[in-house]
Amino acid sequence: MPQFESHFFSSLIFWEIVSFGILLFILYKYAFPGILSVLEEREKKIKDSLEQAEHHRSDAERRLKEYEAKLSAAGKEAEAILAAAKERAQRLLDENEQRLTAEAERIKGDATREIEQERRKAVQDIRSQTTELALMVAEKVVQRSLTEADQRKFADEALEALSKSYQR
Protein backbone atom coordinates (compact mmCIF):
# COMPACT_ATOMS: atom_id res chain seq x y z
CA MET A 1 0.00 0.00 0.00
CA PRO A 2 1.33 3.44 -0.86
CA GLN A 3 0.45 4.66 2.66
CA PHE A 4 3.21 2.52 4.14
CA GLU A 5 6.00 4.06 2.07
CA SER A 6 7.99 5.39 4.96
CA HIS A 7 10.03 7.96 3.03
CA PHE A 8 7.01 10.31 3.04
CA PHE A 9 6.50 9.98 6.81
CA SER A 10 8.88 12.71 7.88
CA SER A 11 7.35 15.40 5.69
CA LEU A 12 3.80 14.29 6.51
CA ILE A 13 4.48 14.32 10.27
CA PHE A 14 6.18 17.69 10.08
CA TRP A 15 3.52 19.37 8.00
CA GLU A 16 0.70 17.76 9.93
CA ILE A 17 2.01 19.12 13.20
CA VAL A 18 2.61 22.55 11.66
CA SER A 19 -0.84 22.68 9.98
CA PHE A 20 -2.63 21.40 13.04
CA GLY A 21 -0.75 23.83 15.23
CA ILE A 22 -1.65 26.74 12.98
CA LEU A 23 -5.31 25.69 12.84
CA LEU A 24 -5.41 25.22 16.61
CA PHE A 25 -3.86 28.64 17.13
CA ILE A 26 -6.19 30.40 14.68
CA LEU A 27 -9.35 28.75 16.02
CA TYR A 28 -8.28 29.20 19.64
CA LYS A 29 -7.52 32.84 19.04
CA TYR A 30 -10.22 33.97 16.62
CA ALA A 31 -13.07 31.49 16.28
CA PHE A 32 -13.83 29.59 19.47
CA PRO A 33 -14.09 32.49 21.94
CA GLY A 34 -16.66 34.22 19.74
CA ILE A 35 -18.74 31.13 19.09
CA LEU A 36 -18.59 29.92 22.69
CA SER A 37 -19.48 33.33 24.05
CA VAL A 38 -22.41 33.57 21.64
CA LEU A 39 -23.58 30.13 22.75
CA GLU A 40 -23.33 31.06 26.39
CA GLU A 41 -24.96 34.41 25.77
CA ARG A 42 -27.82 32.74 23.95
CA GLU A 43 -28.21 30.16 26.72
CA LYS A 44 -28.36 32.94 29.26
CA LYS A 45 -30.72 34.96 27.11
CA ILE A 46 -33.06 32.00 26.67
CA LYS A 47 -32.99 31.28 30.38
CA ASP A 48 -33.65 34.93 31.19
CA SER A 49 -36.43 35.10 28.63
CA LEU A 50 -38.07 32.02 30.03
CA GLU A 51 -37.85 33.43 33.52
CA GLN A 52 -39.22 36.73 32.33
CA ALA A 53 -42.01 35.02 30.46
CA GLU A 54 -42.89 33.05 33.58
CA HIS A 55 -42.85 36.27 35.57
CA HIS A 56 -45.08 38.01 33.03
CA ARG A 57 -47.44 35.09 32.99
CA SER A 58 -47.92 35.08 36.74
CA ASP A 59 -48.28 38.84 36.64
CA ALA A 60 -50.91 38.62 33.95
CA GLU A 61 -52.73 35.92 35.88
CA ARG A 62 -52.75 38.03 38.99
CA ARG A 63 -54.02 41.02 37.03
CA LEU A 64 -56.70 38.95 35.36
CA LYS A 65 -57.94 37.83 38.76
CA GLU A 66 -57.92 41.41 39.92
CA TYR A 67 -59.90 42.55 36.91
CA GLU A 68 -62.32 39.70 37.25
CA ALA A 69 -62.94 40.63 40.87
CA LYS A 70 -63.36 44.27 39.90
CA LEU A 71 -65.67 43.35 37.08
CA SER A 72 -67.89 41.21 39.27
CA ALA A 73 -67.95 43.96 41.90
CA ALA A 74 -68.92 46.48 39.25
CA GLY A 75 -71.62 44.13 38.00
CA LYS A 76 -73.03 43.77 41.45
CA GLU A 77 -72.94 47.51 41.93
CA ALA A 78 -74.71 48.08 38.64
CA GLU A 79 -77.35 45.56 39.62
CA ALA A 80 -77.88 47.30 42.93
CA ILE A 81 -78.15 50.67 41.22
CA LEU A 82 -80.61 49.30 38.72
CA ALA A 83 -82.73 47.74 41.44
CA ALA A 84 -82.75 50.97 43.43
CA ALA A 85 -83.72 52.95 40.33
CA LYS A 86 -86.51 50.52 39.56
CA GLU A 87 -87.80 50.70 43.08
CA ARG A 88 -87.71 54.46 43.05
CA ALA A 89 -89.49 54.64 39.71
CA GLN A 90 -92.15 52.27 40.98
CA ARG A 91 -92.61 54.33 44.10
CA LEU A 92 -92.88 57.53 42.10
CA LEU A 93 -95.38 55.90 39.78
CA ASP A 94 -97.46 54.66 42.68
CA GLU A 95 -97.35 58.03 44.39
CA ASN A 96 -98.35 59.81 41.24
CA GLU A 97 -101.20 57.45 40.63
CA GLN A 98 -102.49 57.85 44.17
CA ARG A 99 -102.19 61.58 43.99
CA LEU A 100 -103.96 61.77 40.64
CA THR A 101 -106.70 59.43 41.76
CA ALA A 102 -107.25 61.52 44.87
CA GLU A 103 -107.26 64.68 42.79
CA ALA A 104 -109.73 63.24 40.34
CA GLU A 105 -111.88 62.03 43.20
CA ARG A 106 -111.80 65.42 44.78
CA ILE A 107 -112.68 67.19 41.49
CA LYS A 108 -115.50 64.75 40.87
CA GLY A 109 -116.86 65.30 44.41
CA ASP A 110 -116.67 69.06 44.04
CA ALA A 111 -118.45 68.92 40.71
CA THR A 112 -121.17 66.66 42.06
CA ARG A 113 -121.71 68.88 45.02
CA GLU A 114 -121.85 71.98 42.88
CA ILE A 115 -124.27 70.37 40.47
CA GLU A 116 -126.47 69.32 43.38
CA GLN A 117 -126.39 72.82 44.80
CA GLU A 118 -127.20 74.37 41.45
CA ARG A 119 -130.03 71.94 40.96
CA ARG A 120 -131.53 72.70 44.35
CA LYS A 121 -131.22 76.36 43.75
CA ALA A 122 -132.84 75.99 40.34
CA VAL A 123 -135.69 73.98 41.83
CA GLN A 124 -136.17 76.58 44.51
CA ASP A 125 -136.18 79.33 41.96
CA ILE A 126 -138.58 77.54 39.72
CA ARG A 127 -140.87 76.74 42.62
CA SER A 128 -141.08 80.29 43.82
CA GLN A 129 -141.43 81.70 40.33
CA THR A 130 -144.11 79.15 39.45
CA THR A 131 -146.03 79.91 42.65
CA GLU A 132 -146.01 83.54 41.87
CA LEU A 133 -146.96 82.91 38.25
CA ALA A 134 -149.79 80.59 39.25
CA LEU A 135 -151.01 83.00 41.79
CA MET A 136 -151.00 85.72 39.25
CA VAL A 137 -152.86 83.58 36.73
CA ALA A 138 -155.36 82.36 39.28
CA GLU A 139 -155.95 85.82 40.56
CA LYS A 140 -156.77 86.97 37.08
CA VAL A 141 -159.08 84.00 36.39
CA VAL A 142 -161.04 83.77 39.71
CA GLN A 143 -160.41 87.15 41.24
CA ARG A 144 -163.89 87.90 42.32
CA SER A 145 -165.59 84.55 43.10
CA LEU A 146 -163.06 82.96 45.35
CA THR A 147 -162.12 83.53 48.89
CA GLU A 148 -158.69 83.76 50.20
CA ALA A 149 -158.88 80.13 51.41
CA ASP A 150 -160.13 78.82 48.11
CA GLN A 151 -157.40 80.65 46.34
CA ARG A 152 -154.72 79.08 48.55
CA LYS A 153 -156.23 75.66 48.06
CA PHE A 154 -156.33 75.90 44.30
CA ALA A 155 -152.91 77.31 44.21
CA ASP A 156 -151.51 74.44 46.26
CA GLU A 157 -153.20 71.91 44.05
CA ALA A 158 -151.80 73.51 40.99
CA LEU A 159 -148.39 73.69 42.55
CA GLU A 160 -148.55 70.04 43.49
CA ALA A 161 -149.40 69.08 39.99
CA LEU A 162 -146.64 71.24 38.64
CA SER A 163 -143.97 69.97 40.93
CA LYS A 164 -145.03 66.41 40.13
CA SER A 165 -144.67 67.02 36.46
CA TYR A 166 -141.40 68.72 37.01
CA GLN A 167 -139.98 65.94 39.11
CA ARG A 168 -140.75 63.36 36.57
Binding site: S10, L12, I26, L27, Y28, F32, V38
Partner: protein, 249 residues
Protein backbone atom coordinates in the same frame (compact mmCIF):
# COMPACT_ATOMS: atom_id res chain seq x y z
CA UNK B 1 -5.08 2.03 -18.84
CA UNK B 2 -6.28 -0.02 -15.87
CA UNK B 3 -4.88 1.66 -12.84
CA UNK B 4 -4.70 0.25 -9.36
CA UNK B 5 -7.44 1.42 -6.97
CA UNK B 6 -4.59 2.25 -4.61
CA UNK B 7 -3.04 4.62 -7.12
CA UNK B 8 -5.01 7.51 -5.63
CA UNK B 9 -3.05 7.24 -2.37
CA UNK B 10 0.36 7.48 -4.02
CA UNK B 11 2.39 10.57 -3.29
CA UNK B 12 5.28 12.20 -5.07
CA UNK B 13 7.42 15.03 -3.90
CA UNK B 14 6.45 18.13 -5.82
CA UNK B 15 8.79 20.56 -4.10
CA UNK B 16 11.71 18.81 -2.40
CA UNK B 17 12.68 20.57 0.83
CA UNK B 18 15.13 19.32 3.38
CA UNK B 19 16.09 20.91 6.69
CA UNK B 20 19.08 19.45 8.47
CA UNK B 21 18.66 16.11 6.80
CA UNK B 22 14.91 16.02 7.61
CA UNK B 23 12.89 15.58 4.44
CA UNK B 24 9.90 17.94 4.55
CA UNK B 25 9.11 18.00 0.87
CA UNK B 26 5.77 19.33 -0.28
CA UNK B 27 3.49 16.68 -1.77
CA UNK B 28 -0.22 16.43 -2.55
CA UNK B 29 -1.16 15.40 1.00
CA UNK B 30 0.67 18.41 2.45
CA UNK B 31 -1.09 20.75 0.03
CA UNK B 32 -4.43 19.32 1.10
CA UNK B 33 -3.53 19.73 4.77
CA UNK B 34 -3.19 23.41 3.98
CA UNK B 35 -6.46 23.39 2.13
CA UNK B 36 -8.15 21.77 5.13
CA UNK B 37 -6.62 24.29 7.51
CA UNK B 38 -7.63 27.19 5.27
CA UNK B 39 -11.20 26.03 4.74
CA UNK B 40 -11.75 25.18 8.41
CA UNK B 41 -10.18 28.40 9.62
CA UNK B 42 -12.04 30.64 7.17
CA UNK B 43 -15.41 29.00 7.81
CA UNK B 44 -15.05 29.05 11.57
CA UNK B 45 -13.75 32.62 11.69
CA UNK B 46 -16.56 33.78 9.41
CA UNK B 47 -19.08 31.96 11.55
CA UNK B 48 -17.51 33.23 14.76
CA UNK B 49 -17.30 36.85 13.65
CA UNK B 50 -21.05 37.27 13.21
CA UNK B 51 -22.09 37.17 16.81
CA UNK B 52 -25.77 37.45 16.22
CA UNK B 53 -28.16 36.25 18.83
CA UNK B 54 -30.38 34.88 16.08
CA UNK B 55 -27.82 33.11 13.91
CA UNK B 56 -27.66 32.87 10.13
CA UNK B 57 -27.04 29.60 8.32
CA UNK B 58 -23.26 29.53 8.57
CA UNK B 59 -23.29 30.73 12.15
CA UNK B 60 -25.83 28.09 13.16
CA UNK B 61 -23.82 25.37 11.47
CA UNK B 62 -20.62 26.37 13.24
CA UNK B 63 -22.48 26.79 16.51
CA UNK B 64 -24.07 23.38 16.08
CA UNK B 65 -20.66 21.80 15.67
CA UNK B 66 -19.14 23.71 18.55
CA UNK B 67 -22.11 22.94 20.78
CA UNK B 68 -21.94 19.29 19.72
CA UNK B 69 -18.29 19.05 20.74
CA UNK B 70 -18.94 20.99 23.92
CA UNK B 71 -21.73 18.68 25.03
CA UNK B 72 -19.58 15.69 24.08
CA UNK B 73 -16.83 16.97 26.37
CA UNK B 74 -19.23 17.82 29.17
CA UNK B 75 -20.80 14.37 28.98
CA UNK B 76 -17.56 12.42 29.05
CA UNK B 77 -15.19 14.61 31.05
CA UNK B 78 -17.34 17.07 32.91
CA UNK B 79 -16.67 20.78 33.44
CA UNK B 80 -12.89 20.53 33.85
CA UNK B 81 -12.68 18.88 30.43
CA UNK B 82 -13.50 22.23 28.81
CA UNK B 83 -9.79 23.04 29.16
CA UNK B 84 -9.31 20.62 26.30
CA UNK B 85 -12.10 22.09 24.22
CA UNK B 86 -9.79 23.88 21.73
CA UNK B 87 -7.72 20.73 21.18
CA UNK B 88 -10.65 18.39 20.74
CA UNK B 89 -12.66 20.81 18.62
CA UNK B 90 -9.70 21.49 16.34
CA UNK B 91 -9.07 17.75 16.08
CA UNK B 92 -12.70 17.17 15.17
CA UNK B 93 -12.74 19.96 12.58
CA UNK B 94 -9.39 18.93 11.07
CA UNK B 95 -10.49 15.31 10.66
CA UNK B 96 -13.98 16.26 9.49
CA UNK B 97 -12.75 18.67 6.84
CA UNK B 98 -10.03 16.24 5.77
CA UNK B 99 -12.63 13.53 5.27
CA UNK B 100 -15.08 15.83 3.50
CA UNK B 101 -12.57 17.57 1.25
CA UNK B 102 -11.13 14.15 0.40
CA UNK B 103 -14.50 13.24 -1.08
CA UNK B 104 -14.11 15.89 -3.79
CA UNK B 105 -12.96 14.03 -6.89
CA UNK B 106 -9.33 14.70 -7.70
CA UNK B 107 -8.51 15.84 -4.19
CA UNK B 108 -6.50 14.00 -1.58
CA UNK B 109 -7.81 12.51 1.68
CA UNK B 110 -5.26 13.50 4.29
CA UNK B 111 -6.71 11.07 6.84
CA UNK B 112 -6.15 8.12 4.51
CA UNK B 113 -2.45 8.32 5.41
CA UNK B 114 -1.79 6.01 8.37
CA UNK B 115 1.02 8.22 9.59
CA UNK B 116 -1.33 11.23 9.82
CA UNK B 117 -3.91 9.40 11.91
CA UNK B 118 -1.15 7.77 13.97
CA UNK B 119 0.32 11.13 14.89
CA UNK B 120 -3.08 12.32 16.09
CA UNK B 121 -3.84 9.16 18.04
CA UNK B 122 -0.42 8.90 19.72
CA UNK B 123 -0.43 12.59 20.61
CA UNK B 124 -3.91 12.23 22.12
CA UNK B 125 -2.98 9.07 23.97
CA UNK B 126 0.29 10.64 25.14
CA UNK B 127 -1.59 13.64 26.50
CA UNK B 128 -3.99 11.36 28.37
CA UNK B 129 -1.15 9.38 29.97
CA UNK B 130 0.81 12.49 30.92
CA UNK B 131 -2.32 14.12 32.30
CA UNK B 132 -3.14 10.98 34.29
CA UNK B 133 0.28 10.89 35.93
CA UNK B 134 0.14 14.65 36.55
CA UNK B 135 -3.22 14.43 38.30
CA UNK B 136 -2.88 11.12 40.14
CA UNK B 137 0.88 10.47 40.35
CA UNK B 138 1.90 6.84 40.61
CA UNK B 139 -1.67 5.89 41.48
CA UNK B 140 -2.47 6.32 37.80
CA UNK B 141 -0.82 2.93 37.28
CA UNK B 142 -3.98 1.62 38.94
CA UNK B 143 -5.63 2.06 35.55
CA UNK B 144 -4.06 -1.33 34.79
CA UNK B 145 -6.14 -2.95 37.53
CA UNK B 146 -9.87 -2.47 36.97
CA UNK B 147 -11.83 -1.92 40.17
CA UNK B 148 -13.25 -5.10 41.69
CA UNK B 149 -10.49 -7.37 40.41
CA UNK B 150 -9.80 -10.20 42.90
CA UNK B 151 -6.20 -10.21 44.18
CA UNK B 152 -5.23 -13.50 42.58
CA UNK B 153 -6.27 -12.20 39.14
CA UNK B 154 -4.05 -9.13 39.31
CA UNK B 155 -0.97 -10.80 37.71
CA UNK B 156 -3.18 -11.80 34.81
CA UNK B 157 -5.05 -8.53 34.54
CA UNK B 158 -2.01 -6.30 34.32
CA UNK B 159 -0.66 -7.74 31.04
CA UNK B 160 -4.15 -7.77 29.57
CA UNK B 161 -4.74 -4.16 30.52
CA UNK B 162 -1.34 -3.18 29.15
CA UNK B 163 -2.34 -4.69 25.84
CA UNK B 164 -5.68 -2.89 25.93
CA UNK B 165 -3.93 0.38 26.70
CA UNK B 166 -1.53 -0.10 23.80
CA UNK B 167 -4.43 -1.02 21.59
CA UNK B 168 -6.05 2.33 22.25
CA UNK B 169 -3.82 4.56 20.10
CA UNK B 170 -3.27 1.83 17.54
CA UNK B 171 -6.96 1.16 17.06
CA UNK B 172 -7.69 4.89 17.05
CA UNK B 173 -5.20 5.42 14.24
CA UNK B 174 -6.08 2.33 12.24
CA UNK B 175 -9.84 2.86 12.48
CA UNK B 176 -9.79 6.26 10.82
CA UNK B 177 -7.12 5.31 8.27
CA UNK B 178 -8.83 2.05 7.34
CA UNK B 179 -12.27 3.61 6.99
CA UNK B 180 -11.02 6.36 4.72
CA UNK B 181 -8.82 4.05 2.66
CA UNK B 182 -11.49 1.39 2.29
CA UNK B 183 -14.11 3.89 1.23
CA UNK B 184 -11.94 5.42 -1.43
CA UNK B 185 -10.72 2.05 -2.68
CA UNK B 186 -14.30 0.90 -2.98
CA UNK B 187 -15.25 4.03 -4.91
CA UNK B 188 -12.24 3.61 -7.19
CA UNK B 189 -13.05 -0.05 -7.87
CA UNK B 190 -16.71 0.66 -8.56
CA UNK B 191 -15.84 3.56 -10.82
CA UNK B 192 -13.30 1.59 -12.81
CA UNK B 193 -16.01 -1.05 -13.24
CA UNK B 194 -18.34 1.66 -14.50
CA UNK B 195 -15.81 2.79 -17.07
CA UNK B 196 -14.91 -0.77 -18.02
CA UNK B 197 -18.51 -1.95 -18.21
CA UNK B 198 -19.50 0.58 -20.81
CA UNK B 199 -23.05 1.80 -21.29
CA UNK B 200 -24.61 -1.64 -21.35
CA UNK B 201 -23.73 -2.82 -17.83
CA UNK B 202 -21.82 0.19 -16.49
CA UNK B 203 -24.89 1.83 -14.96
CA UNK B 204 -25.03 -0.85 -12.24
CA UNK B 205 -21.62 -0.15 -10.62
CA UNK B 206 -22.28 3.53 -11.25
CA UNK B 207 -25.46 3.35 -9.17
CA UNK B 208 -23.41 1.69 -6.44
CA UNK B 209 -20.83 4.45 -6.75
CA UNK B 210 -23.50 7.04 -6.06
CA UNK B 211 -24.86 5.09 -3.10
CA UNK B 212 -21.40 4.46 -1.61
CA UNK B 213 -20.53 8.11 -2.14
CA UNK B 214 -23.52 9.06 0.01
CA UNK B 215 -22.43 6.50 2.58
CA UNK B 216 -18.89 7.90 2.56
CA UNK B 217 -20.31 11.32 3.28
CA UNK B 218 -21.91 9.95 6.43
CA UNK B 219 -18.76 8.05 7.34
CA UNK B 220 -16.77 11.29 7.07
CA UNK B 221 -18.87 12.69 9.90
CA UNK B 222 -19.05 9.49 11.91
CA UNK B 223 -15.30 8.87 11.88
CA UNK B 224 -14.57 12.43 12.92
CA UNK B 225 -17.09 12.00 15.72
CA UNK B 226 -15.67 8.62 16.82
CA UNK B 227 -12.13 9.96 16.86
CA UNK B 228 -13.07 12.93 19.01
CA UNK B 229 -15.34 11.07 21.40
CA UNK B 230 -12.67 8.42 22.00
CA UNK B 231 -10.24 11.25 22.65
CA UNK B 232 -12.72 12.56 25.20
CA UNK B 233 -13.06 9.12 26.78
CA UNK B 234 -9.30 8.59 27.07
CA UNK B 235 -8.77 12.05 28.52
CA UNK B 236 -11.76 11.47 30.79
CA UNK B 237 -10.13 8.28 32.09
CA UNK B 238 -7.12 10.35 33.01
CA UNK B 239 -9.32 12.85 34.84
CA UNK B 240 -11.45 10.34 36.71
CA UNK B 241 -9.34 7.29 37.45
CA UNK B 242 -11.90 4.46 37.63
CA UNK B 243 -14.50 7.14 38.18
CA UNK B 244 -13.12 7.59 41.75
CA UNK B 245 -13.58 11.32 41.66
CA UNK B 246 -17.29 11.06 41.04
CA UNK B 247 -18.47 8.18 43.20
CA UNK B 248 -15.92 7.03 45.73
CA UNK B 249 -16.92 3.80 47.40
Amino acid sequence: MEESPLHQFELENWIPISIGGLDISINKAVIFMWVVVTVAAVLMIMAGSSRKLVPGKLQSLAEMMVDFIRSMILDTMGKEGMRFFPLIATLFLFILFSNLIGLIPGSYTVTSQIIVTAVFSFVVYGISVVLGFMLHGAKFLGILVPPGTPGWLVPLMIPIEIISQVARPVSLAVRLFANMTAGHVMLAVLFSLTIGGGLLIGWLPFAFTVAIYGLEFGIAFIQAYIFSILTCVYLGDAFHLHGHDEHAH
